[in-house]
C-alpha cells in the first residue's frame, strides 16, 4: 500500500513540475500566438541567473528567485520588442526567431559558465515523513509553487483588466486593437510573464535536479506535450494535461522498459488527439 501511495505522490509531484514548466510556454502561445521554442532556453537562463545571484553574489535564495524572475521578465520585454514584434502575425518567422534564440542563449551559457556542474541549494531542505512514506520538502515546495502559479495565472487572466485584454487579443487581435487595446503592450506583458515563469521553473528545477546548458531541451518537449494535450488556448487545461503526462512518466517506467514507456506515453497522447484534435480543453484553431 505504501508503495502505491509513494507512486501516486510521485505522479502528482512530477505532474506539478511539468505544469510549472508549461504554464509560461502556454501563456505566450495563447496570447501572442508565438510557438516560443526558446522557452526551454529561457528556463535554463533563469536558473543560471538565480544561481549567480544566490551563490556568486551570496544573495538570499528566495530573493534571488524573485530577482531572477524580475530580470527575466525585463529580458522578455526586450525579446518581445526586438525579436518577436517585427514578425507579429508571421508565424514561421517567429518560430525561426525562437529557434535562433535557443542557439544564442545556449551557446552563451555554454561558453561562459556551462563547463561547471552546478545545482542550486534546496529552497526547503529536509524530508516530510508520514507513516512509512517520506517525500522531500523540496519536491512538495516545487509542486506547491507550480500549482499556485498556475492558479494565479488563471485568476490574473480572468479577473484583471489586463488579463481580459490578453484574452481579447488571443481571440481576435485585430478586433481587440479596434476596441482600443494596445496589443503590443499586452504581448509584452505576456512575454514578460512567460519569461518570469520560465525563470521560476528553471530555478526550482535547478535546485531539485541540476543546472546544465541543455536542461531546457528536455523540459520543452514535456511542455509542448502538455500544451498540445491540454489544448492550445487553455491555460487552466494545463493542470489536467500536466497530470496525465506526469502520471504516465512516473508510473510506466516502474513496469516496463524506457523505450516502451516513451512509446506508450506518446501513443496515448496521439489517441486523445485523434479523438479531440483541439486537445482536451482547447478551442478550434483557424
Amino acid at each position: 500500500m505504501e508503495y502505491v501511495i509513494e507512486i501516486a505522490i510521485n505522479a502528482i509531484l512530477l505532474s506539478s513540475m511539468y505544469i510549472l514548466a508549461a504554464s509560461g510556454f502556454a501563456l505566450v502561445l495563447s496570447i501572442m500566438g508565438v510557438l516560443n521554442f526558446a522557452h526551454g532556453a529561457l528556463y535554463m537562463v533563469g536558473g543560471y541567473v538565480c544561481y549567480q545571484l544566490a551563490i556568486e553574489y551570496s544573495i538570499n535564495l528566495y530573493v534571488s528567485l524573485i530577482l531572477a524572475a524580475g530580470i527575466m521578465a525585463f529580458f522578455g520585454i526586450l525579446l518581445e520588442r526586438f525579436c518577436f514584434r517585427p514578425f507579429y502575425g508571421d508565424f514561421f518567422s517567429s518560430v525561426i526567431m525562437s529557434i535562433a534564440l535557443i542557439f544564442i542563449l545556449q551557446t552563451t551559457i555554454n561558453l561562459t559558465v556551462g563547463v561547471h556542474v552546478r545545482s542550486l541549494p534546496a529552497f526547503v531542505p529536509g524530508m516530510f515523513k508520514m507513516g512509512g512514506i517520506a517525500v522531500s520538502m523540496e519536491r512538495l515546495f516545487t509542486a506547491g509553487v507550480g500549482v499556485s502559479l498556475l492558479c494565479c495565472l488563471v485568476l490574473f487572466i480572468r479577473k484583471t483588466k489586463i488579463g481580459m485584454q490578453m484574452l481579447a487579443v488571443s481571440q481576435n487581435a485585430d478586433g481587440a486593437a479596434l476596441q482600443g487595446i494596445r496589443i503590443h503592450r499586452v504581448a509584452a506583458i505576456a512575454m514578460a510573464l512567460g519569461c518570469a515563469m520560465a525563470a521560476i521553473a528553471g530555478s526550482l528545477m535547478g535546485a531539485l535536479f541540476d543546472l546544465n546548458t541543455f536542461m531546457g531541451d528536455l523540459i520543452l518537449v514535456k511542455a509542448i506535450q502538455v500544451v498540445i494535450l491540454s489544448g492550445i488556448g487553455s491555460i487552466g487545461g494545463i493542470l489536467i494535461g500536466g497530470l496525465i503526462i506526469g502520471t504516465l512518466d512516473s508510473v510506466l517506467p516502474l513496469y516496463t522498459t524506457p523505450a516502451i514507456t516513451q512509446t506508450v506515453g506518446l501513443t496515448i497522447i496521439i489517441v486523445i488527439l485523434l479523438i479531440r484534435p483541439q486537445g482536451l480543453f482547447g478551442r478550434e484553431m483557424e
Binding site: V115, V117, A122, A134, F214, L218, S250, L252, P258, Q262
Partner: protein, 402 residues
C-alpha cells in the same frame, strides 16, 4: 597619381606580410607536425563534459611537445591537434569524422566517449584505415570488436570498471549478496548485462530483477529509484552516466529511503556527483574516481591538475585525464611503430605489452572480451562520498580485461 602609387606600396606591404611572415616562421621551425584529429562534443547535450575532454587533449599535446615531441626514425615531430565537434549526436560524429579524414586528411583520431558517437565514427575511420584512440567504451560490438581493427581503446572502459568495481564492492562490503543494476538506455544494456552477471557471479553477487534502464532524456529519476529501492538489494551498482545524471539518481534513491552502498561502475569525479546529489544524499557512494587530494596521485596527474586549473579555471580532473590519455597512448604507439603509416602503428600497438597512461603503467588486453588485443587497461583510484564528504578509497592496481 600619387594616391595610386601610395595604394600600390600599401598593397605590396600587406601582401608581403601575408605571404612572407608565415614562410619565415616555418623556416625557423625545424620540427615537423604530427597532426592528430580530436573529436569531442563541443556543442550538444553532453558538451559541458565533452569540452573538457578536448582540454585534456590539449594538455596532452602540450605535455608531449614540451618533453621533446615524438621521434620517428631520428626525426622530431610536434603534435598538432585538429579539433572537431561531434555535436553529441551520431550524425554529428559522422560528419565530424568525415571532415577530419577527407578534408583535414588526418591519419589518426583521438577522443569520443558516448557509445553512439564511438560507433558512428567507426563507419568513417575503418573503411579509410584511420587509427582511432577512443576515450571510452561501453561494451557494444559496434564501438569496438573484430570488425573495427583500426580502433584502440585508450582506457579501461565500462567492462574494466565492472570487473574492478564489483570486486571492490565484494571486498569492502563482504555481506553483499544481491545487487540492483542501473544502466543508461543508450544501446549498451544487452551487452553490459551479461558482463555484470558474469563478473557478479565470480564475486558471489546476484542481480535482483532485470537491469533498470533509464533513458538519456530523463528529467526525474524518482520512478527508476523507486524501482530499485523496491527490490531491496544489498547494494545498487550504476554503470555509466554523466555526473549530473548519476547525482540525480543517487539523490532520488536516498530520498526514496535506500541507505545501502551505491557503487559506480565507471569513472567520475565524486565532487561533481556531490554538487548535484547534495550533502544529505551523498553517503555510501563509491566510484572509480580521483579525489582531488588523493595522496597517491601520480606526478603526471598532478601536472594535469595544476596546469588545467591555471589554464581553464576549473577542477574537473577526471574528464581532463579522460581526454588526455587517448592522445598520450596514441603517440606512444606511433613512436613504438617508428612509422606514420596507420597499418604499421596498428600492428605495433597490438603487440605492445605495457603502455604508460596518466594513471600509471597499464597493460594491453581485451582479446577474449572484445576479440582483439586493442584495450589499454590500467590502475584506477577509488573515491567515495561518506556523510557528504569526498574520500580517497585507495587504488586498484591489478585490473585486467581478459
Amino acid at each position: 597619381m600619387k594616391k595610386f602609387k601610395l595604394s600600390g606600396v600599401l598593397i605590396a606591404c600587406i601582401l608581403s606580410v601575408i605571404f612572407l611572415l608565415p614562410a619565415a616562421g616555418l623556416a625557423g621551425n625545424t620540427a615537423k607536425k604530427l597532426r592528430i584529429g580530436y573529436l569531442s562534443g563541443l556543442t550538444g547535450f553532453a558538451s559541458d563534459a565533452e569540452r573538457i575532454h578536448l582540454q585534456g587533449g590539449e594538455l596532452a599535446r602540450d605535455w608531449i611537445n614540451s618533453n621533446g615531441g615524438v621521434t620517428i626514425k631520428g626525426e622530431k615531430y610536434m603534435v598538432e591537434l585538429v579539433p572537431e565537434d561531434h555535436k553529441c549526436s551520431a550524425d554529428g560524429a559522422v560528419s565530424g569524422a568525415t571532415k577530419l579524414v577527407y578534408d583535414e586528411k588526418v591519419k589518426y583520431i583521438a577522443g569520443t566517449i558516448m557509445p553512439f558517437t564511438v560507433a558512428a565514427v567507426t563507419t568513417v575511420t575503418e573503411p579509410a584505415g584511420v587509427i582511432r584512440s577512443v576515450g571510452y567504451n561501453c561494451g557494444t560490438p559496434q564501438e569496438f570488436s573484430t570488425s573495427t581493427p583500426y580502433t584502440f581503446l585508450s582506457q579501461n572502459g565500462t567492462i574494466g570498471a565492472i570487473i574492478s568495481g564489483l570486486g571492490w564492492l565484494k571486498k569492502n562490503f563482504p555481506e553483499t549478496k544481491t545487487i540492483s543494476v542501473f544502466i543508461p538506455d543508450d544501446g549498451a544494456i544487452p551487452y553490459l548485462e551479461p558482463q555484470v552477471k558474469k563478473w557478479g557471479e565470480k564475486n558471489g553477487l546476484t542481480i535482483k530483477g532485470d537491469i533498470i534502464g533509464w533513458p538519456l532524456n530523463t528529467i526525474d529519476f524518482t520512478p527508476f529509484a523507486l524501482k530499485a529501492v523496491k527490490r531491496d538489494a544489498d547494494a545498487v551498482v550504476m554503470a555509466n552516466g554523466w555526473p549530473a545524471m548519476v547525482g540525480n539518481v543517487l539523490k532520488a534513491m536516498r530520498e526514496a529511503g535506500y541507505k545501502k552502498p551505491v557503487v559506480g561502475l565507471h569513472y567520475l569525479q565524486v565532487q561533481d556527483v556531490l554538487e548535484v546529489a547534495g550533502k544529505e544524499a551523498s553517503d555510501k557512494y563509491y566510484i572509480h574516481g580521483l579525489n582531488l587530494d588523493d595522496p597517491e596521485m601520480t606526478d603526471m596527474i598532478k601536472w594535469i591538475y595544476d596546469t588545467g586549473k591555471t589554464r581553464y579555471g576549473h577542477e574537473r580532473l577526471a574528464f581532463w585525464i579522460e581526454g588526455f590519455d587517448p592522445v598520450y597512448v596514441l603517440v606512444q604507439a606511433i613512436e613504438m611503430a617508428q612509422s606514420l603509416d596507420p597499418n604499421d602503428i596498428k600492428k605495433a600497438w597490438a603487440k605492445m605489452d605495457t603502455i604508460e597512461t596518466a594513471y600509471g603503467t597499464s597493460k594491453m588486453g581485451g582479446e577474449k572480451t572484445y576479440g582483439l588485443r586493442h584495450a589499454v587497461v590500467g590502475p584506477r583510484p577509488m573515491a567515495g562520498l561518506e556523510n557528504g564528504v569526498p574520500k580517497s578509497m585507495g587504488w586498484i592496481r591489478d585490473i585486467m580485461v581478459p
